[in-house]
């Protein structure tokens, strides 16, 4: 019986946050610290003919100004791309542009001043001689023969082409289908907008020749690796990267950014600490964006509802430079999920990664999997209408059945577990689906536009094994490290290579260890986010922390228990095989003799004193490097109800219900919180959010005034349910819980809006379903009806 696992334990992180004591990088103040501001391009594409910083340098309070040429001359390296599939063509990405700027926001020069106000004043005094060039912003138009070329090294702006499957075979099966649903659509650009803007502080110590960098990152070890081997060239043993509290990330803080090169370089150059904090306006034009696909898709379906084939072509906008993991998103994390929850015998997918004069695009919550789910769930919904079938019944007809796991899809993945009928049964119950249908139909009779949307989504999370991931093109494996250190007093430090940015690892990992070792949660500290404290680990993204990082910690706890049993056996003069570790209270006794026992602290002290078997090493510290044998496959059934205002096109989200299978759950309160937040991000994509560029490459949605973030009154309370089918991919039986809400939220709500407009004959409207877009669709429908 577990004391902590599966319980809604309140978070140990919260007292500091609710009292204003969060340790965010922007709060750091060091003696003699200079403040950096970056001169950024107002043009999407332009030659730099010269930079005149003389007036800026002369301003009182300015310490230094450096340009891209200064950094290049000093040997600073290009920011690397960490996922390189076969045939990829790449180009350098210098931290400050040298001879050409390629997107609005591209850095040109950096000012360091005694205070940040002076630094901004100095930016205005820098004269950059730009020669504007034509720009290209659309992923597909970028491949046209006459399109402006973003990089000379990347012909036709096409960095890579990634096909999976046999196109001809799939089209053969498609052509034999009774019915084919075809759809050209976009998955719009999103801007992640973690509430904490990125920040970086660097301190070069000339005495020890060591660099310390504080940066708001989801994976400090990976950043150190890239700084060391690619950009700064500082050996890893002289470079410490610390990410204290991270104020949200959603993928955008995975990547190695220019400022993480510029700021440390300046600190070393000047011999003083340097701080840079992004403004929100800068964040909009420098943080990696998400999604931005142009897609053509076909789904073959027979009259009885059986899916026969799926054929998809996608042009994925990579932006001006290949960000750290960008090529992985529309390839290995996208096409491999095309099978959804369904048996689709023939699948082909291909994507082109194209360069444009826009902010780089990389992983954003879900990363490839939301795009896959959206396309499949929209196609299925249209198929249901074309066949006049209930959308849930059509899905059920094609579900992979519980006895078919492990299930090999046609697109490389081997699904581990699931029960999709049970999932939908529960979702229908939680949402009151049948009553919702009655309510919708009544509303329709009254002439109101009310719709219900459903989706069934799958995600691959907790990637592994490493050799498979690296064979696809990843520059790193995706194993994780977990170390458990029992101090002589019985207190415990747990070191993990994952790094929370809102997920509550200090709570959930402590719950895990408390139950594994039978000790109070208060005796456990979770250590993360500092390369000098924790051994190498890969960080937190792709819903991997519990499945991969948690498993590493669990296995280290098992090793601690075994060692403690051996020490207790030695002290009690009993056989190891006869020792029982009581996980209720952390004591060890001889089987059948509960009074012959040792406490957790007894053994901790013995390990310190060396009162242990002769062939044993002293101390109690165990490490595990866990490489998962497979991904985990969380899955979901979400149902939403919306009403569209006929006159204005405005949409009200009336109800939202979600049932998820994320396997075993460590802390249901935290899992539900992840789902609620994720759902609202998914709703944001369906109804509100859109990163829009004009033809000249100007970002039209560069502030919170123009980019519509979901607000408290945009969403209703959601009703959540859960089924727990343990994952066989890890001994904890957990599946990723961090991204499913976002993955499912978008198609669920989009399908609901399209259902609302179905009586008007509207087949598809691209997201986001803003009032303007829906008003336009209603107007067009009424014109064509006339």
């Amino acid at each position: 019986m577990s004391k902590y696992m599966g319980k809604a334990v309140k978070r140990v992180e919260d007292p500091r946050f609710i009292q204003g004591r969060g340790k965010y990088v922007a709060n750091l103040k060091l003696a003699n610290m200079g403040h950096a501001a970056i001169k950024r391009s107002p043009f999407a594409h332009a030659k730099i003919n010269g930079v005149d910083a003389s007036a800026a340098k002369a301003l009182d309070g300015v310490i230094a100004v450096y340009t891209g040429q200064d950094l290049q001359a000093a040997g600073v390296g290009s920011l690397p791309c960490g996922f390189n599939p076969p045939g990829i063509v790449t180009a350098p990405h210098m931290p400050l542009a040298v001879d050409k700027v390629r997107h609005v926001g591209d850095g040109v020069a950096v000012v360091i001043a005694n205070d940040i106000y002076t630094a901004y004043d100095a930016l205005d005094l820098i004269e950059v001689d730009y020669e504007p060039l034509p720009a290209v912003v659309d992923a597909k138009k970028a491949t046209a023969a006459d399109a402006p070329q973003v990089h000379d090294e990347i012909p036709n702006n096409t960095s890579f082409h990634w096909p999976l499957g046999e196109s001809d075979t799939v089209m053969g099966a498609m052509n034999e289908s009774d019915h084919v649903v075809e759809l050209d659509f976009i998955n719009q650009r999103l801007i992640p907008n973690a509430m904490e803007p990125r920040a970086c502080v660097a301190e070069w110590n000339a005495f020890t020749e060591e660099m310390t960098v504080w940066t708001s990152s989801q994976n400090p070890h990976l950043i150190r690796l890239l700084m060391s081997m690619a950009t700064l060239g500082i050996p890893e043993n002289r470079l410490r990267v610390i990410s204290p509290d991270v104020g949200g990330g959603f993928g955008s803080k995975i990547f190695h950014y220019p400022e993480e090169v510029i700021v440390p370089w300046c600190s070393k150059q000047l011999g003083q600490p340097v701080k840079w904090v992004s403004t929100r306006s800068e964040a909009f034009v420098t943080d990696a964006h998400g999604r931005d696909h142009v897609t053509t898709a076909k789904l073959g379906v027979n009259n009885d509802g059986t899916f026969t084939a799926l054929h998809v072509q996608t042009w994925a906008n990579m932006g001006a430079y290949l960000s750290t993991f960008a090529p992985m998103i529309p390839t290995a994390l996208y096409i491999t999920l095309f099978s959804g929850l369904y048996k689709i015998p023939h699948i082909f997918g291909e994507s082109w990664g194209t360069m444009t004069n826009t902010v780089p695009v990389d992983a954003y919550r879900g990363a490839g999997r939301p795009e896959a789910s959206y396309l499949l769930e929209r196609l299925i919904d249209i198929a249901a209408r074309d066949l006049n079938m209930d959308p849930i019944e059509l899905r059920r007809k094609n579900f992979i059945q519980p006895d078919e796991f492990p299930y090999q899809t046609p697109v490389a993945m081997v699904y581990d577990s699931g029960d999709y009928d049970q999932l939908f049964d529960k979702a229908m119950e939680v949402s009151g689906y049948n009553e919702m249908i009655e309510e919708r139909d009544r509303a329709r009779q009254e002439g109101r536009l009310v719709g219900i949307g459903v989706s069934g989504c799958i995600e691959a999370s907790g990637a592994g094994p490493s050799k498979v991931v690296t064979s696809l093109g990843a520059g790193v494996g995706l194993w994780e490290h977990g170390l458990v250190r029992v101090h002589p007093t019985g207190k415990i430090s747990v070191l993990t290579g994952t790094h929370a940015h809102g997920q509550g690892h200090e709570t959930t990992f402590a719950q895990l260890v408390a139950d594994e070792l039978g000790v109070p949660m208060d005796d456990i500290e979770i250590v993360h986010g500092d390369t000098s404290k924790t051994p190498f680990g890969l960080g937190t993204y792709a819903s991997r922390s519990a499945a991969v990082g948690g498993t590493a910690i669990m296995k280290s706890c098992e090793k601690i228990r075994e060692k403690m049993k051996a020490i207790a056996a030695y002290q009690l003069e009993a056989a190891v095989e006869d020792m029982v570790y009581d996980q209720e209270n952390g004591t060890i006794h001889v089987q059948g003799s509960p009074d012959r026992s040792k406490t957790f602290v007894d053994i901790s002290v013995a390990a310190l004193m060396g009162h242990i078997p002769d062939d044993m090493e002293p101390s109690l510290e165990e490490a595990t490097f866990f490489d998962p044998p497979n991904f985990t496959f969380p899955n979901s059934a979400h149902i939403a109800m919306v009403e569209v205002d006929k006159e204005s096109g405005e949409i009200s989200l009336l109800k939202y219900a979600a049932v998820d299978d994320v396997g075993n759950v460590i802390n249901p309160m935290i899992v539900e919180g992840q789902l609620q937040g994720g759902i609202v991000q998914g709703v944001g994509q369906a109804l509100l959010e859109h990163g829009i560029y004009d033809e000249d490459g100007q970002l039209l949605t560069g502030t919170f005034l123009d980019y519509a973030m979901p607000r408290a009154d945009d969403v209703p309370m959601s009703a959540l349910g859960r089924i727990e089918i343990p994952s066989p991919s890890n001994p904890l039986g957990v599946k990723g819980a961090g991204e499913m809400g976002t993955i499912a939220g978008t198609p669920t709500v989009a399908n609901a809006v399209m259902d609302a407009l179905h009586p008007l004959g509207v087949r598809h409207v691209d997201i986001p379903h803003t009032a303007a877009a829906i008003h336009g669709a209603i107007q067009s429908a009424s014109v064509s009806a006339d």
């Binding site: 309140k10 978070r11 992180e13 919260d14 007292p15 500091r16 946050f17 609710i18 009292q19 204003g20 004591r21 969060g22 965010y24 922007a26 709060n27 103040k29 106000y117 907008n193 973690a194 509430m195 904490e196 803007p197 509290d245 991270v246 104020g247 949200g248 959603f250 904090v277 403004t279 929100r280 306006s281 940015h501 809102g502 997920q503 509550g504 309160m669 935290i670 539900e672 919180g673 992840q674 609620q676 937040g677 994720g678 759902i679 609202v680 991000q681 502030t703 919170f704 005034l705 973030m709 979901p710 607000r711 408290a712 009154d713 969403v715 309370m717 959601s718 809400g741």
Partner: protein, 154 residues
Amino acid sequence: MQITITVNGTTHTRDVEPRTLLVDFLRDHLGLTGTNIGCDTSQCGACTIHMDSQSVKSCTVLAVQADGADLTTIEGLANGSLHPMQQAFWDNHGLQCGYCTPGMIMSATKLVEGNPGISEAEIRHGLEGNICRCTGYQNIVKAVQQAAGEMGGD
């Protein structure tokens, strides 16, 4: 310019440039970094504080405009203990990354003053000026409802 401002019960007299934003004054001059900055267009509400018993976005106020004012920041909301709103955010898992939280709590405490029975719709409307990217607002709304009841209109 010389200004005198009382923050969390302590009076400070400082020389500031006239253009200094109040939020920068709090964070950089007084070291009160609990008030976070989330945007530069007064949209996100992360920097919300209380100024002479009103909630204000401190990025939208110049430090000189606060000359003579009495301010409360998240650090001074409850002295040493937890304010019912802080406790309610903890109890209801009303935060994840914690970055919007100080501003959200400062807005919410003013929102519920004099309205112990505040409705869900009123809370959602009243918190429109505070953006949270993590929680989906559901648990924030629950926290505010709980605290409103406990504060009993105070």
